[in-house]
């Protein structure tokens, strides 16, 4: 065996360490140190506008004792879950169509999916405000067609507008991994399945779906995590009672000067995302 392995492998890999050092430093200073600070802050507390640097579980007690905070937690989780499911439901047929029937247009169609990502996220959120607003595109059209007597305020500033905006802005993050999964899916398997007399639905359920599921799960992790931590969309397009975890965190840091409580909320988000990730990885491995 040793004779086969290349001689470079036995030399001390100085080059390897040298190449690894910059990214390690980068990750260490800009990722792990802030993360450690965040965890430390979450166990401190605020007392009359002063941060008290003593270990305490006050923040977590505050979060779980308050019915209002619990409501926000549940609302955020449900929204993230809902957005993920809707995006998956849109992405699977879309990716299937692009990869199977796209033909020579496949690259172009994929590019069109990514295209919105080239514009600012804020612009896309604002666009929905313009579409859904009281004097917006939808209302103007409905009033112009005589369907509505006067503009309706039912489209914007509620959980519907928040969901819709999320579904739209995060869709590319779901579609791309699903397209990749479909591309790797060998068409021979479909033929084999057909040869064995499986109906189309049976083929989809027992051959296609298991093969593309890792892509769907990867996309779900993207969409779920992005939604869970976002505060721009619920802030700009959400309703007066529609605030989410991200808004709470932003206001604890930027308005209330309650960094410890904000850090505790942020830690909670990370725990939720990490446990979601763990479950997903377990799921992927079983397929």
């Amino acid at each position: 065996m040793t004779a086969i392995s290349p001689p470079t492998a036995r030399r001390p890999p100085v080059g390897l360490y040298a190449t690894l050092l910059p990214p390690l430093l980068w990750m260490g200073l800009l990722y792990f140190v802030p993360l450690a600070l965040l965890i430390v802050y979450s166990f401190w507390r605020l007392d009359s506008f002063e941060i008290v640097q003593e270990f305490s579980l006050d923040n977590f007690q505050t979060i779980f004792a308050s019915a209002a905070y619990r409501r926000v937690l549940v609302r955020t989780g449900m929204t993230a879950l809902g957005v993920t499911l809707i995006d998956a439901a849109i992405a699977i047929p879309l990716a299937l169509a692009i990869t199977r029937y796209g033909g020579r247009w496949r690259s172009l169609l994929t590019l069109l999916i990514i295209l919105p990502l080239w514009s600012s996220y804020l612009v896309r959120v604002f666009a929905w405000k313009i579409i859904l607003g009281y004097n917006g595109v939808i209302n103007s059209a409905l009033v112009g067609l005589g369907i509505l007597q006067e503009p309706s305020s039912a489209f914007l500033y509620n959980s519907f507008s928040t969901m819709l905006t999320f579904v739209h802005v995060w869709l590319p993050f779901m579609v791309l991994p699903v397209i990749t999964a479909f591309e790797r899916h060998p068409p021979e398997l479909l033929e084999a399945s057909a040869d064995l007399n499986a109906p189309p639905w049976g083929t989809f359920r027992r051959v296609t779906l298991p093969l593309v599921l890792p892509g769907v799960l990867a996309g779900s992790i993207n969409v779920f995590a992005l939604t869970l931590g976002d505060f721009i969309t619920p802030g700009l397009g959400g309703g007066p009672q529609g605030i989410m975890l991200g808004n709470l965190i932003a206001s604890q840091f930027g308005v209330s000067y309650n960094w410890p409580l904000g850090a505790a909320f942020a830690l909670l988000v990370m725990v939720v995302v990490c446990s979601g990730l763990a479950v997903m990885l377990r799921l992927i491995r079983t397929f």
């Binding site: 009359s48 506008f49 002063e50 308050s66 209002a68 905070y69 409501r71 926000v72 405000k129 607003g133 009281y134 004097n135 917006g136 503009p151 305020s153 914007l156 500033y157 309703g239 007066p240 009672q241 605030i243 709470l248 840091f253 930027g254 308005v255 209330s256 000067y257």
Partner: protein, 351 residues
Amino acid sequence: MGHRLVSAILISLLSLGTLLLPAAPAQAVNCMLTAIVWEGYTDPAFTDDFEAQTGCRIKATYAGSSDEMFAKFRAGGGRNYDLISASGDITERLYRAGLVRSIETERLTNYDEVFSPFQGGKWNTFDGQPYGVTFAWGPNVLIYSTDAVSPEPDSWNVLFDPAYEGQVTIPDNPMTIADAALWLGKTDPYGLSEADLAQVKEKLLELRPQIRKFWTTAGELANLFQSGEVVVAHAWPITEKQLTEADFPAESVSPPGKLTGWTDSWMISQKARNVDAAYQWIDFILSGAGQKGVIEATGYSGATELGTEAVGPERAKELFMDDLSLHSKINMWQSVKNYDRWVEVWNEIRS
């Protein structure tokens, strides 16, 4: 192919970098004041004059509430900003946190022109030392779209009028609790007991279905009016100014006896980098040009005799700068003892 694309991008980025590089030192020659302010206090209409006079530019961040101002000012230990236009509810908090320095009034040539009740006011003087220089004040008012709201409202009850359900906006600011306390007839809106707070909460929850959105900045509020989302608001007078300038039909009402408001003072950070320039800025705002600039940009009342002269006696009378009779009738924002509880109650109303 891929390599060529990457190198092309890299080259264009590098050339962009070299384009930007020489620009930076050119700016550094002049001084750059940083400030966190209420919208309108650094309007280019008059800051250009200041720049021409002193060679200093002022770079401002707008805040949507006193709390936001405090949190942002404090976030960098007070190093991020030279100046803060603090309202009376956070001046003491800033002083107690050791974030601001006492004002050497002899460094301000216009200090004696400040209305005498504002020199040594309890909101800007601590331990007998002045820590802030008061330069503007005003009430929180009711602003409504004249097209959509009739007859002309004369009290805050219009916010609760079912005719305007889902078309009302109020500030996303715990200090709004003081307004609700006034609507309930409390005499001391800043000294509320637990029982009072419970009543206030009930009153504001009653207002919930009326509310389209809680506004956080004056810019956002003007936008809400213009896009037809709201027709009546609890707001600052600057919004009427902004809407009128945009030819949007809006007017304001100050329901007597039920007014909260603010008295704003410039304070200088303990860790300010440009102390001399900060004094020059304050002096400029106290001068006729500065006062006129602030008054015209915001519609707020000024605070110096030079300001009264600059806007003329008629305008000064409209703004109650001649006898300050309105100032004493407004329940000015001030430090709240149980403010932690206010924030909690507000968060419960919000979520």
